[in-house]
Structure formats: C-alpha cells, structure tokens
C-alpha cells in the first residue's frame, strides 16, 4: 500500500515558471523525502525534511512540511526543461524503518 498521495498527478508548465507538487500522508512520520525519476532511470534523492522541521531549501527547491495537516509540498522555482521528470514523496513512518512512496507527480516543462 502507498501512504503518500501526490497531487496533481500530472503538471505541464512553461520553462521559467514555478512548479508546486503536494503530498499527503496518513500516519505520523520521522521524516519525509522527495525523489526525482527521469524516464527510464532510477530515483534520485532531492531533499529530506524531518518531522520537527517546517521548511527546507536546496538550490531551486523548497520543501514545506505541515505535520498537523499531514502534508508536504515541493516547489521548484524557475523551472527548466531538464526538470521534466516524475517526482515522488516518500514517508518514513514512526517505527517503520522503511520508506513508503506515493504514486508520483509527472512534471513536464516545455521550452
């Protein structure tokens, strides 16, 4: 079963625009991670945010976490064609010692 649910399922934007993807989950977590997957490739870790953190930045990425709403968002600013990929959130539930991935958001950045 997949705990995280990403929204939207697919997103198409123009190069230079910002892209926002959301993730909702069901149980209390240790941390939440975001990964990117280019077509035909393995997943690449983007950012990890712990349950006691509210916001984290990495380059053009900004992740927020709201544990009261059990949700997280990933913002990619000034998107590029190379950002075209699937993005997954993955939750590490308390006591689970494993990541549970959502179904992902497919992002297409048009140049």
């Amino acid at each position: 079963s997949q705990q995280g649910e990403e929204d939207p399922q697919a997103l198409s934007i123009q190069e230079g625009e910002n892209a926002t993807m959301n993730c909702s989950y069901k149980t209390s977590i240790n941390n939440l991670q975001w990964y990117r997957q280019n077509s035909g490739r393995g997943l690449v870790h983007l950012i990890l945010i712990r349950s006691n953190e509210r916001e984290k930045h990495s380059g053009r990425l900004r992740v927020t976490l709201d544990t009261s709403k059990k949700s997280s968002s990933l913002l990619i600013t000034a998107s590029r064609a190379a950002d075209t990929a699937s993005y997954f959130c993955a939750t590490d539930a308390w006591g689970g010692n494993k990541l549970v991935f959502g179904a992902g958001t497919i992002l297409r950045v048009k140049s």
Partner: protein
C-alpha cells in the same frame, strides 16, 4: 564514487521461466533494498537487508520470489517461475543504516525492466 550497480538493465522472458537480478550497493552501505515499480506507480518495497540479514520481507511473495545477500554486500533477487503480472521495473537501493532520526536518503540503481511474455 560508483553508484548502485544493477544488471541486467532489461530482461524479456516467457512466463514460467526463472529470472535473476543482481545488485551491487554503494561501498559502506549496510542497508540494501529491493523495490518493484509498476508503470505509473511509485516503488514498493519487496525486501530490506541490514548487512546479510533480511529484516523486512513482509511484502516479498515468498512462493515465487527469493533473495539473498551473501557476505552483506552484493544481492540477488530471483523469481521462479515468473508470471505475467511480474512485469515491472525492479529497483535496488542502498543507504546507511537508519538511526534514531529515521531512514536515511537512499541511493537507487538504474533498475531492471522485466517483461514477461
């Protein structure tokens, strides 16, 4: 530093045939994971190893799937016999052992795309 290595990258087999996938994790990573990813879905954990011990195999269909991690380094995942529904991408990942702060970032290999005809 080399990443997670998997082979083969692609495999096409007839149903009822056996198939095996191999993974070499990042050096120093004690934790190794096998995931299955169906089209349009996120990866789903099949088995997790801490060194050579399988500590979570609750999602592994044990009637046909088996895995081993001899000497706590390389790992092999086997399916025998394969069924049509096993067509998917099989991903291997590795990480440092989880601590009090939870699961660490995982490093994924490129995956093996399995097609069962």
């Amino acid at each position: 530093e080399a990443g997670v290595v998997q082979s083969p990258r692609y495999k096409i087999i007839e149903k009822k045939q056996p198939v095996a996938f191999w993974c070499n994790p990042i050096s120093g990573h004690n934790t190794l994971y096998w995931y299955r990813q169906n089209l349009g879905q996120g990866p789903e954990l099949l088995i997790r190893y801490e060194n050579e011990e399988a500590v979570d195999d609750s999602q592994l269909p044990k009637d046909r799937f088996s895995a081993e991690r001899l000497k706590g380094v390389d790992s092999t995942l086997k399916i025998q016999p394969a069924e049509l529904g096993d067509s998917a991408v099989y991903l291997c990942a590795s990480s440092l052992t989880a601590g009090l702060a939870g699961v660490n970032e995982q490093f994924f290999g490129p995956g093996t795309r399995l097609t069962v005809l």
